[in-house]
Amino acid sequence: MTAAIAIEGLRHVYLEDTPQAQQALYNASLHVAPAEMTAIIGPTGAGKSTLLHFCNGLLRPHERGRVRVLDQDLSTDVDLAALRRNVGLVFQYPHHQLFERFVGDDVAYGPRQMGLDEDEVEERVQWALQAVALDPEVFADRPTLSLSGGEMRRAAIAGVLATRPSVLILDEVTTGLDPEGREQIHALLRQLNEREGTAVLFVSNDLDEVAALADKAMLLYRGYTLAEGPVRELFSDLPLLARAELGAPFAGGLAAALQARGIALEHTPLTAAEAEEELWQAWKG
């Protein structure tokens, strides 16, 4: 398999002259490699969520463009149910995605649909809840709507994980969480990516989050893909990020400001930890 997701030249304009037109795509491309962590970055209204909906067949290409997911062309007649088990999509508002009364049943929904026997369903539920750091003993019998915001997000992720997707897609799932909640989700994504080899695609408008997590990134602005590539490369182009109304990532902005004051770093740092290391080297050297 060359790419988990390959989208080329996608156009999707929906209800022109209404607020929805803000979420249109004009020329969007996206490539997600298996076992990599990829981020879509862009300001509000860039079309990020819309693009995600193409990745598991919720929207189908009908105007222009090609969408291939797990080596299937989505403009042809594909088995959507199977595709969606392999490509898990976690929405921004977790309660939209939880539909059984109890957390355990909700997480079990996907595996049951797959026709697994109850033992295996149970095993998957245990695994998925543990993966998102919700103790199955405590949470399996809790009503879904009684969870706190952060717990609900993790329960929604568990429900998607239970079908063991090879691609996991998340739409701004750390927005509005406190620092600890954010860090928990980051740790979960790293673990899935590194240990299970799951390809992770996530949407974020927090550049520092992207710098800390992603291998590759795609910059979407008003429906156009402006750039795509390794995060390090993309984030070295500060003028481009500024033009896309995203500001500068902390470390990159710091390096540029230091340069202007006559302090040169050998490599442009991507994260705060790297900035510290580079500064220490510069100080010593």
Binding site: P19, T44, D178, P179, F250, I263, A273, E276, W280, W283
Partner: protein, 281 residues
Amino acid sequence: MALIVCEQLHLTYGLESDVPIEALHGIDLTIDEGEFVAVVGRNGSGKSTLARCLNGLLRPTSGRVLVNGLDTALRQHRLTIRSTVGMVFQNPDNQFVMSTVREEVAFGPENLGVPRPELIERVDRALRLTGLADLPDVDPQHLSAGGKSRLAIAAMLALAPRCLVLDETTALMDPLARRETLALAQELCRQGLTIVWVTHHMDEVAEAARVVALDHGLLGYDGTPHALFADRALCAKLGLDLPPAAQVAHGLIDRGLSLDTLPLNAAELVDSLARAWEGRS
């Protein structure tokens, strides 16, 4: 001069139910006129509850809250208090009542019965201050993310408040809208308005003059952001991140590079590093 005073403020939800939830257990807090106070803490630590006590949307279970000397528990002060301490919520889409920008801003002062000439003046002023003067007839839903938050603020300004409480107003925003909103709040503060800024973003906390941290319904910290972020153990206990600049600075100090102050944002870090480099050569 003290504008808002909380004395042993307790708030419990669901007192009549079997499982009352105690959200605030005895907060003593004084907010002076003209201050910029950031309020931080974990999800569920009581930030929103405290915010809602400050303008009387919630009444204390015990203890009291005084706004400009008026007790928020007393019904007769309700409207005065709510127009003195304005409140902006997280999701602007859910707080708009009207379908044009101008009507939305007028809604508050109309409720207060402000006579028409003054009403028009207040609305125009609020629109001007928030940069919305050119968009009076636009549907609020059609505004950009930053525009929506400016409108929510304008709607409050038209009540002529002395304090604005912004309850995680930037939580759902992209970086540009966040910066825009913070800059507007800072500008309003310079003009004399008191700002209470509830947030999870540590880079925003670094911009405040004072931080109040809540920890399980108690006051966990009250002081300058510098002193807070200097104490890493305390930050961890309160569930707070360090702003990235402070993180780098702590790392460098640990390794033996001494900095004269603890920088909290990139600009301060650059200044402080430049001084260190100068001192060496």
